[in-house]
Amino acid sequence: MKEQGTYRVKKGMAQMQKGGVIMDVTTVEQARIAENAGAVAVMALERVPADIRAAGGVARMADPEMILKIMDAVTIPVMAKVRIGHFAEAQIIEELGVDYIDESEVLTPADEQYHINKHLFTVPFVCGARDLGEALRRISEGAAMIRTKGEPGTGNVVEAVRHMRRVMDQIRQVLSKKEDELVDLAKVMGVSVEMLEEVRKEDRLPVVNFAAGGIASPADASLMMQLGSDGIFVGSGIFKAANPEKVAEAIVQATLHYDDPKVLAQVSKGLGEAMPGVEMSTLTSADRMQERGI
């Protein structure tokens, strides 16, 4: 008998994306460029994070018609974003048949206390996290994949680096603790002891962990992979660049050969102007998307 939507099947989908690049796209043409460049999936959005930031106001899930067009246009998996806690948006997106839902801080949160109960869905979810506590709380809620939050739409990798380093450092802490010290650590991190035991059993975060939020160049992708990411999300970094095709291909190849400076130097050549970046100190607390949904 076939069993659909088991946690293994959801988590397995993310395992098949490892070492790959997932790209934000807003049109059918962009989706095709991403697929041709070797993206492992596309995230269908109405606006890339840099434009959401510029537009202000309430950012909601994309128009289903636009998501369906992108699903028709490419053969690779299609993801879509819903607001944190907005399970009705998630129900609608699931109905469309998308392959993965991102419960994302890039959109305006719909619930300031609760995230979506992701166990109730057949479609897998990815969620953002700034530290191990956030990551494990999202996994407890049923997330089958984690990504760093970084600071979306800035083209500035500094926050993604901070979040990846923090998660890795906290995993090392969990692994080095004595068994009877786990209860206290669980209290500090705001997670269950069982989740920490899961980390110890797997010797890593129990699900696939991608980097996201500010990655804009092949060098950024390599940096995040060398810090231990399983793969890369690129939001605004591709289609806000002067030459999206070239940047897309270069980031895919840099993610594969992240530890080979010779290839990295080659693919970094002549990419044209990168997306304009944002310095973190110019953002007010309200501008910082990473503080949503913790």
Partner: protein, 194 residues
């Protein structure tokens, strides 16, 4: 004897861990030099369009084809790996790169999208009891040539097959604890190298 896992994209570490548990020396294959060291190669699940493109760009596709033709390399493809090994992809992208090794025609995403992905107990020819098979946006084999042995089928189509030194499954034995399919492939590699 060493077995490699093509380390371009996808479930690489899962296969390496299974090989280790079978007490076989294993290595991640990312370039032509490491490919030369192995008697067997696993092409893991991932996105076939991504893996296909990258092994063509970096010259691995030609080397794999060459060693397979020489008859001194056993290859095991899971999911995307099966698609890459197939002679025909019935719904491939125009110009989708393929290794063109096995005399089968495959269909990508044959069961549907991720929400139709599933797990089930599957009868595998030559194993005495069923195994748990996980299918993720999985392909099927629609047609086989005369030298191909069918190892497992579902009503939708063939999900495991062998042709000489080539083994392909639609499902992911690297995602379950059962090591029997990996052991089956290791036995293939042993008989090839002896």
């Amino acid at each position: 004897m060493k077995i490699g896992v093509l380390s371009v994209q996808g479930a690489v570490t899962e296969h390496l861990r299974h090989l280790e548990q079978c007490n076989v020396e294993s290595i991640a294959v990312k370039n032509r030099e490491t490919l030369q060291q192995v008697s067997g190669l696993i092409i893991p699940g991932g996105e076939s369009t991504t893996i296909g493109k990258l092994i063509s760009i970096f010259g691995l596709a030609d080397s794999i084809r060459k060693r397979s033709k020489e008859g001194n390399l056993a290859i095991f493809g899971t999911c995307a790996g099966m698609i890459l090994m197939a002679r025909d992809i019935s719904d491939g992208l125009p110009g989708q790169p393929s290794l063109n090794l096995m005399d089968v025609q495959v269909k990508r995403n044959a069961f549907g999208r991720q929400q139709e992905s599933f797990e089930m107990e599957l009868q595998f020819n030559s194993l005495d009891h069923p195994l748990t098979a996980i299918f993720i946006r999985a392909p099927i084999i629609e047609k086989t040539g005369s030298g191909v042995t069918i190892l497992a089928s579902l009503p939708e189509g063939i999900v495991a097959a062998r042709q000489d030194n080539l083994l392909a499954t639609s499902f992911h034995p690297e995602l379950v604890k059962d090591l029997r399919i990996h052991q089956y492939f290791i036995d293939m590699c042993h008989s090839l190298s002896s």
